[in-house]
């Protein structure tokens, strides 16, 4: 089996969301569903004034772009009652068999990466499938090809590891600890990134990541 994986260069991302909007264009998604989200995370910190009234601030802000991580141990497939949410044996890509999905929403609840959603009009769960048809045709997923900063990659896991020797499996805030699902998401950490289990901050763009 070849396991595909995403790579995110957190030190290049500017939070522009071109990845998210290119995905919405390609997959014809409306304003209510996104397969990829960009989280704006602020660590703890405070503004402090000195005797002269001058300001300094500690802590930082950074963006993280996340879609489905096609996890080794997906939370979504585990809870799926019908087996519609499944992990492909050849590619490791997690996708929905729309003929079997009942739209119960368990995958949505369980996934700690906010990847699957239930589209009630379509009558089933929807999510990132790694643009399988593009990858099958030798292209990159639309988000990868869209990123103005070349911060995203998608390739077989071994290639991602080989091409990004300093990258690690994603284990930074605001993402969950990698142990929950063993995501196939490798990252170069954004400056000032906090470890997932040592998170002090909050996502501030909560209305933009529904």
């Amino acid at each position: 089996m070849t396991q595909y994986a995403f790579h995110f260069s957190g030190s290049r991302c500017t939070g522009c969301k071109t990845c998210e909007l290119a995905c919405k264009d390609y997959h014809d998604l409306g304003t209510d569903v996104a397969y990829r989200h960009v989280y704006e995370y602020e660590t703890a910190g405070d503004w402090k004034a000195d005797e002269a009234g001058c300001w300094s601030v500690d802590g930082t802000s950074y963006y993280v772009s996340v879609a489905c991580n096609h996890c080794d141990d997906p939370a979504c497939t585990k809870v799926c009652p019908t087996g519609a949410m499944h992990k492909d044996e050849q590619t490791g890509i997690v996708s929905v068999d729309t003929d079997r999905c009942i739209g119960c929403g368990y995958c949505h609840m369980a996934c700690p990466y906010n990847a699957p959603k239930v589209d009630r009009t379509k009558g089933h769960s929807v999510k990132c499938d790694g643009c399988a048809e593009r990858v099958a045709a030798g292209k990159k997923p639309i988000c990868v090809e869209a990123c103005p900063l070349r911060a995203l990659e998608f390739a077989p896991k071994e290639d991602v590891e080989r091409n990004n020797k300093d990258s690690e499996v994603a284990d930074i805030a605001p993402l969950p600890s990698k142990g929950y699902t063993h995501p196939n998401l490798y990252i170069v950490k954004p400056a000032g990134a906090e470890k997932a289990d040592e998170a002090t901050g909050k996502v501030v763009n909560t209305l933009e990541v529904k």
């Binding site: 809870v79 799926c80 009652p81 079997r100 009942i102 990466y113 239930v118 009630r120 009558g123 969950p176």
Partner: protein, 291 residues
């Protein structure tokens, strides 16, 4: 809290179905401890339609929660691995046994031994079903739900709500005098108290744990405080259910019995529904899942 209303069909399912299921426990105790004459049994069987209907309405509500109900026959594919498959499989086994019992009994050709056997099977399966309903939410990526306080709540709701439904059945079947007979009276009181303790206690334990959790999107304390009014109102309703049923078994006069026992059921429905909504409002992901 507002987002929990998106889960209203599920909340209705997990309110009504366990209440219907729990009622069979009292009926099983009744038929095991008390001699019930045929006429009375017939009347009781007629009003057993109430818990049966609650279970069916509950399942229909769950059906409406699905985006593609027509695919629902596939839900058993995940048996063993998906807690939802387990829950629904358990629910179906229970429902089938319940229906077999009720149809058979209503047909009027059931021996006392078979009745006792089937009733106990229904009652036990009903409680297991309630437990599995709680288990369905024990997902390790949702720490605020991943606690046995969840299934304990569901058992509590089944016991308390079921007792209230069973008392109403007996009152409507004009068999209220059996309630005053010592074994059943004691049984009802024990079940009611156990239900209040498990239901409210389970939810309180879960809320206390959730209050200490946080993820990058929300803090558990905010979720709990957002749901606090609903939790308190729900808990008061459940205590009210218990008080009504205590009245019913401890000498409410015949005239008041229908009112008191119906009131107990209404309070149970409202109270359990509120606590179920509060439960959904306390969903806190280990990561970024948003209700």
């Amino acid at each position: 809290m507002a987002s929990a209303f998106a889960e209203l069909p599920l909340a209705l399912f997990s309110t009504l179905a366990p209440m219907g299921a729990g009622a069979f426990l009292i009926l099983a105790i009744l038929f095991s401890t008390t001699k019930v004459d045929d006429a009375a049994a017939k009347r009781i069987d007629r009003f057993t339609a109430i818990p049966v209907a609650l279970v069916i309405v509950g399942f229909i509500a769950a059906f409406f929660h699905l985006a593609s109900p027509l695919h629902a026959f596939g839900v058993f594919a995940g048996l063993g691995s998906s807690p939802l498959s387990n829950e629904l499989a358990m629910g179906c086994v229970f429902a089938v046994v319940m229906l077999v019992y009720w149809i058979w009994a209503s047909a009027g050709k059931m021996s006392a031994g078979v009745r006792k056997g089937l009733l106990w099977a229904t009652a036990v399966l009903g409680l297991v079903f309630a437990w599995f309903t709680g288990m369905a939410y024990m997902i390790d990526t949702i720490p605020s739900w991943n606690t046995f306080a969840g299934p304990v709540q569901m058992i509590g709701f089944a016991l308390l709500g079921g007792a209230a439904v069973a008392v109403l059945v007996l009152v409507l079947a004009k068999n209220s005098d059996v309630l005053k007979s010592s074994p059943l009276k004691t049984a009802v009181l024990i079940v009611v108290v156990a239900g209040v303790v498990c239901g409210i206690g389970g939810l309180a334990a879960q809320a206390a744990a959730t209050g200490g959790m946080a993820n990058a999107l929300a803090s558990g304390a905010d979720l709990v405080s957002g749901a606090m009014v609903v939790i308190i109102c729900g808990a008061i309703c459940l205590v009210g259910t218990g008080v009504c049923d205590a009245f019913a078994v401890r000498g409410a006069n015949a005239g008041a019995l229908v009112g008191v026992s119906s009131g107990a059921v209404v309070l149970a429905v409202v109270g359990i529904l509120m606590l179920r909504l509060a439960f959904y409002a306390m969903q806190l992901s280990a990561g970024l899942s948003i209700m």
